[in-house]
Amino acid sequence: MAKKEKAKEKRTAVSASSYSGEKTATGIPLTCGASILTPGTSKVYKTGTWRTFKPEIDQSRCIKCAKCWMSCPDAAIFIDKEGKYQVNYDYCKGCLICAKECPVKCISYKVEEK
């Protein structure tokens, strides 16, 4: 009987609907069907490490048209407290769409150095 109960416990542990607390070696929750239980987890994954080219905004020439902000596919351009357009390098993949779209060409870029 005890053996049977243990087997049952083992069964639920690997596949229970509600997440049982098991984690992979790297700390990722081992959920049923690999679903993610909490929103916003993509923030944890910093895609900025993919970058080959690093864009830089020349604030003195920026006209604040927001075209870079609108066209960034990773929402990696943000407006800081002073109203300046800035690049969030944690998530910027360096696609350079912002540089291409900038009407006054104030976004330059260079090869990322790490």
């Binding site: 087997a7 049952k8 083992k10 069964r11 639920t12 690997v14 596949s15 229970a16 609907s17 992979t24 070696a25 790297t26 990722i28 081992l30 049923c32 069907g33 690999a34 679903s35 993610i36 239980l37 929103p39 987890t41």
Partner: protein
């Protein structure tokens, strides 16, 4: 009052599905599975079944809608065969990897080319590695019963894996036999109401279909493997529970041993061929030969321990495959060889029934003959 009516294997399955009350039925009919969506749409049209039929534009869409229905949190079903299953292929591991307890009927049919609509196992056997439980059936009653059990097995909390109910195209799907259709309330009590585990729920938001990196993917596959191994016990338990409720069972749920008690030689095969083999065994037994049949019902999960136990006293085992893994041998034979590696029993692999070629008594006698002589198997042309 128990009702026994003459009907096709397909109608038996459609009846079983109706009694399990699926809410969504994505269907793309393909020979020889067509009778099932035909019957189900009839039930929906005349009000016997309250479900939404989705007439999708391809089998790829049928499998995708099956995924969608389960992520929405309802019971569903679809049926397919051959090229249809091949077109679903992309979605098969997505359904199993997402741990959705879908049930699908596969009317086993040969794969093209050359184009062929008749029965063999090449469609399902090619898909056996995609994380679906595969249960094969011998007759219409077994198809009805297995469909009911399939929902229970799939939806078990320790399993949560999809199930293919594999039935031989035409030989079973279009064969008219007396089938006991069980009472709706009794079936409802057995199958129970569907309680979804993993589904889109606005009060408990989750992300589905997210990607997993090399540091995670591996463990999710390991979890699937564990769940599949759990299903060995669950399938057996369901078989026992089904027997208690309805008075019918199929071996231990994974394997059925026919005349195996004192057998020295045996044939292992899946599906309707078992019926023919039973007759051959009766003939050979009448002549004093100690022969038996291992009817393999569950190909995934593969019943390793039960197969070892069943073959312990055998001198020779013939494995009949209705599919050829071109470049090697029949996959059922390969699996069996792996299980019995190091054992004394001589294994002979046979390829039979490709593209609907009859596996008649002569061919099975032929196979037994070679097995009893300790010879290699052959193509039973």
């Amino acid at each position: 009052m128990v009702e026994k009516r003459v009907m096709s294997g397909s109608e038996a399955i459609a009846n079983a599905v109706k009694l399990c009350k699926p809410a969504v039925l994505p269907m793309y009919p393909i020979t020889p599975s067509t009778l099932v969506p035909e019957k189900l749409s009839e039930y929906v049209a005349n009000g016997e079944l309250k479900a939404e039929m989705i007439y999708v534009e391809s089998e790829h869409s049928a499998a995708s809608a099956l995924y969608g229905a389960y992520t929405a949190g309802v019971r569903s079903f679809t049926a397919t065969a051959s090229q249809g299953l091949a077109l679903m292929y992309e979605i098969l591991p997505i359904i199993s990897g997402s741990r959705l307890p879908a049930v699908m009927m596969v009317a086993n049919r040969a794969l093209s080319a050359p184009l062929n609509i008749w029965n063999d196992h090449s469609d399902a056997m090619s898909a056996k590695d995609q994380g679906w439980i595969q249960l094969y059936c011998e007759n219409a009653q077994e198809a009805f019963d297995t469909t009911l059990m399939a929902y229970r097995i799939a939806e078990n909390e320790g399993v949560l894996l999809p199930v293919m109910v594999c039935v031989d195209g035409f030989v079973l799907t279009h064969m008219y036999e007396p089938v006991q259709i069980e009472d709706a309330d009794k079936v409802s009590a057995f199958v129970g109401e569907y309680k979804p585990h993993n589904f889109l729920d606005t009060s408990n938001p989750k992300t589905f279909g997210a990607f997993a990196q090399p540091n995670t993917y591996f463990e999710f596959k390991e979890a699937q493997q564990k769940a599949m191994m759990n299903s060995l016990d669950i399938i057996k338990e369901m078989n026992v529970e089904f027997a208690k409720k309805f008075g019918r069972s199929y071996g231990n749920g994974l394997l059925e041993l026919i005349d195996m008690k004192d057998a020295e030689y045996a044939i292992m095969v899946a599906g309707t061929t078992v019926g023919t083999a039973r007759e051959v065994v009766d003939e050979l037994r009448a002549k004093g030969k100690k022969v038996g049949i291992i009817k393999i019902k569950s190909i995934r999960p593969f019943p390793v321990d039960d197969l070892k136990n069943a073959t312990r006293k055998l001198k020779g085992l013939g494995v009949i495959d209705r599919h050829i893994s071109i470049g090697y041998e029949g996959p059922l034979c390969t699996d069996t060889r792996a299980v019995l590696a190091g054992e004394k029993v001589k294994i002979s692999g046979f390829i039979a029934g490709l593209g609907g070629r009859d596996i008649d008594r002569t061919r099975i006698r032929d196979a037994f003959d070679l097995v009893m002589k300790g010879k290699e198997g052959k193509w039973l042309k």
